[in-house]
Structure formats: structure tokens, C-alpha cells
């Protein structure tokens, strides 16, 4: 059976003339599939909303409070696990030093102090040598060399600043 144009009329809801309505009625009397379609359309156009049981908002408030509590608990235990993991990792990394410290703390502290003292002495010696050079060397270098060095340093600084501005330009509105 040919369902056109009746099926299209049922789907698209056009305004039908009296003659078209009569044709549609005649077709619906003989066609079960189009009748089913018409019944479905009628049922769909007269549906009503299903409502939840009374107290929906109160139940939601209770659920929200429970969810927040659970989230808080999860965050707390998450933090505890993270803190313990970090401590464990730090312990694992520093285990060789910790082992020495536990076994012979005096020896380890003595070696640390000795290293610190040796570093300090070396630094002092280098500083003294530097001061001597600082006092002696300027006397050997002519003034024009100083001027060249000064201009070169200025030029390099300027180039550095310009290139930095050019390459680090950030687009606006991002």
C-alpha cells in the first residue's frame, strides 16, 4: 500500500484542506501502520509530566551533605597518603646519609665540619688573591683599553636588552 503523502502529513503537521482531511480519514480506515502512527502522534501530543515523590529537594539536600562529607574524608585521606608517600620517598633517597648518621653521628658531623672549614679557608685564599690582583693589574693597563672594554660591555648589554624585548613579546588578550 502506498502511504504517501499520508505518512508525510502525519509527520510534518501541515495545514490540510477539507478534501485532504477526507482522503487522510479514508486512508486511515484501511491502513493499520498509518493508524498506528496517528495514534502514536496523538499519544505523544497529550503526554503529561511524571513528578517525583514529595520531598525531592529535601532528599537532594541530604545527599549533597553526604557527598560533601565523603569528599572531605577522601581529601583528608588523600593528603595523608600523599604526605606519607613524600616522606617515604625522601627517606629512601637520603637513606645512605641517614644510615651513616645513625651508625656514627660524631664521625659524620666531624667530616661535615671539616668540609665546611676547608671550603671557608679556600674561599678566603681566593678572595685575598683577587684583592691583590685588583690593586696591581689596573696600573699595567692603559686608559684607552678600559674605555674600549666599557663601550664593548655597553654595546653587548644594549643588544641583549633589544633582542630580549623582540623575542619575548607576549600577545595581548591571552
Amino acid at each position: 500500500m502506498d502511504h504517501r503523502p499520508f505518512e508525510d502529513w502525519l509527520h510534518d503537521n501541515p495545514t490540510l484542506s477539507t478534501d485532504q482531511k477526507r482522503q487522510l480519514n479514508a486512508h486511515l480506515r484501511t491502513c493499520t501502520s498509518c493508524t498506528a502512527l496517528a495514534e502514536v502522534k496523538l499519544a505523544l501530543e497529550t503526554v503529561s509530566l511524571a513528578a517525583p515523590a514529595a520531598g525531592f529537594t529535601d532528599r537532594f539536600t541530604v545527599r549533597l551533605a553526604a557527598r560533601k562529607k565523603a569528599l572531605k574524608r577522601r581529601n583528608f585521606w588523600g593528603f595523608v597518603i600523599l604526605a606519607l608517600s613524600v616522606l617515604g620517598l625522601l627517606g629512601l633517597i637520603s637513606w645512605p646519609v641517614l644510615k651513616d648518621l645513625i651508625q656514627s653521628p660524631v664521625n659524620l658531623l666531624a667530616s661535615w665540619f671539616a668540609s665546611l672549614a676547608s671550603f671557608f679557608t679556600s674561599f678566603q685564599a681566593i678572595f685575598r688573591a683577587g684583592m691583590v690582583l685588583f690593586k696591581v693589574v689596573p696600573g699595567f693597563i692603559p686608559t684607552y683599553i678600559w674605555l674600549v672594554v666599557l663601550f664593548a660591555a655597553g654595546g653587548w648589554s644594549l643588544m641583549w636588552v633589544v633582542s630580549l624585548m623582540k623575542f619575548t613579546k607576549i600577545p595581548q588578550g591571552v
Binding site: 482531511k21 502512527l37 502514536v40 502522534k41 513528578a51 525531592f56
Partner: protein, 198 residues
């Protein structure tokens, strides 16, 4: 500024009472969508509660340029579609429990006979809906129960408008096919009106 916009702004700033007002306003459309999608009142209650929880958690991301109802129903529809997919994967059948059906209140009850007929039709339609593909089902519910336009359905379900039209067309044909397979006591007499649409 409408009441709804005020509530949304207040809720975005952490006001729980304002959010409760939004729940109060939208509980019925959200529950109805979930009920038509999932077929069971208990599942619908749980899904609608979860929808509102999701909305609460993601409210900061809500774009006020977009209609709130569309955004809310979109979350509800996708939640139900995910739930149906999970259910299908875990091979749990959707058995209809007649006693567990919700009472569908109707404010306009002219006479008991037509009221009963309407209720029968509603039940029959509810049965048929459960056989549709979840996205087609969501499109039908949004179109006929929530009165959404095809554009709104497209935005809600993240589809194109032609896809929505095609899905609605296909769904109506599928429902008509299922309509004939329903038991005789659920069949309705067609009145000599011509077509129901006119």
C-alpha cells in the same frame, strides 16, 4: 535580571539555598526526562538526584549566555544515556514492574473514562519508549514532554538539527511499529476526528 539568573549567580558564589531553589524549580522536568529514559521511578529518582549533584559541582563552568534549562537537561540526558549503556554492558534487563510505576498526576481530569484512556495510552507509550535507542528516546522526550525545539534538542544532545529531525522521524515510525505489538487491552480506540494532528 530574572529570579532564575539571580539564583544561578548566587549558587555560583556558593549559596546553597539559591541552588535548592533551582532544584525545586527544575525537579519535575529533570525527573520526567530520567523517568522516560530509564523506565523505572527508583532509577529516575537516583538519576535526577545525581544530575543535580553534577550540576552543583560544575556550576562554575556554566555559561550564562546559554539557557539554563538546556544545559541542565543536557546533563540529565547524557547521564541517563551513560547509565543505559552501562546497564546494557552489564546485561541487566529492563524489566517493567507495573506496581512500581509512578502515578502520573494530571491537573485536567474531565471525566474518569477519558482519564483512564489517557493513562492507558501513557502507559503504552512508556512501554514502547523503552525499546527505542537511548538517543532517539531522549530526542522524543525532549520534543514532546519538554516542548523543546529541534534546535534546543540538537544543542542538548550535541547533534545537528537534520540529525534530530531524522531521529525524531525514525523514532515515531519505530513507536508506530511497536504500538501495534502492544497487548489489546492497551490499544486505544481512535475517534473519528480525521488525524490526531489536526
Amino acid at each position: 535580571m530574572t529570579d532564575e539568573t539571580t539564583w544561578i549567580i548566587q549558587a555560583q558564589q556558593g549559596d546553597e539555598d539559591a541552588f535548592t531553589l533551582l532544584v525545586e524549580t527544575y525537579q519535575k522536568p529533570v525527573f520526567n526526562l530520567c523517568y522516560r529514559m530509564l523506565g523505572e521511578p527508583e532509577a529516575a529518582e537516583d538519576a535526577s538526584q545525581e544530575t543535580f549533584l553534577k550540576v552543583y559541582q560544575n556550576l562554575a563552568r556554566y555559561d550564562r549566555e546559554r539557557p539554563f534549562a538546556t544545559w541542565l537537561l543536557s546533563i540529565a540526558a547524557h547521564h541517563c544515556i551513560d547509565r543505559l549503556r552501562r546497564k546494557r554492558f552489564s546485561s541487566i534487563s529492563i524489566d517493567e514492574d507495573e506496581e512500581g510505576q509512578m502515578d502520573i498526576p494530571d491537573r485536567f481530569a474531565p471525566d474518569p473514562e477519558s482519564e483512564m484512556l489517557k493513562q492507558q495510552q501513557g502507559e503504552k507509550l512508556h512501554h514502547c519508549l523503552q525499546s527505542l535507542d537511548p538517543i532517539d528516546r531522549a530526542a522524543v522526550v525532549l520534543r514532546y514532554w519538554q516542548d523543546c525545539s529541534e534546535l534546543e534538542i540538537a544543542q542538548t544532545l550535541k547533534l545537528t538539527v537534520p540529525a534530530v529531525k531524522s531521529r525524531l522521524h525514525r523514532a515515531r515510525l519505530a513507536l508506530a511499529g511497536l504500538w501495534d505489538e502492544q497487548p489489546a487491552h492497551l490499544r486505544t480506540e481512535r475517534k473519528p476526528y480525521g488525524s490526531p494532528a489536526f
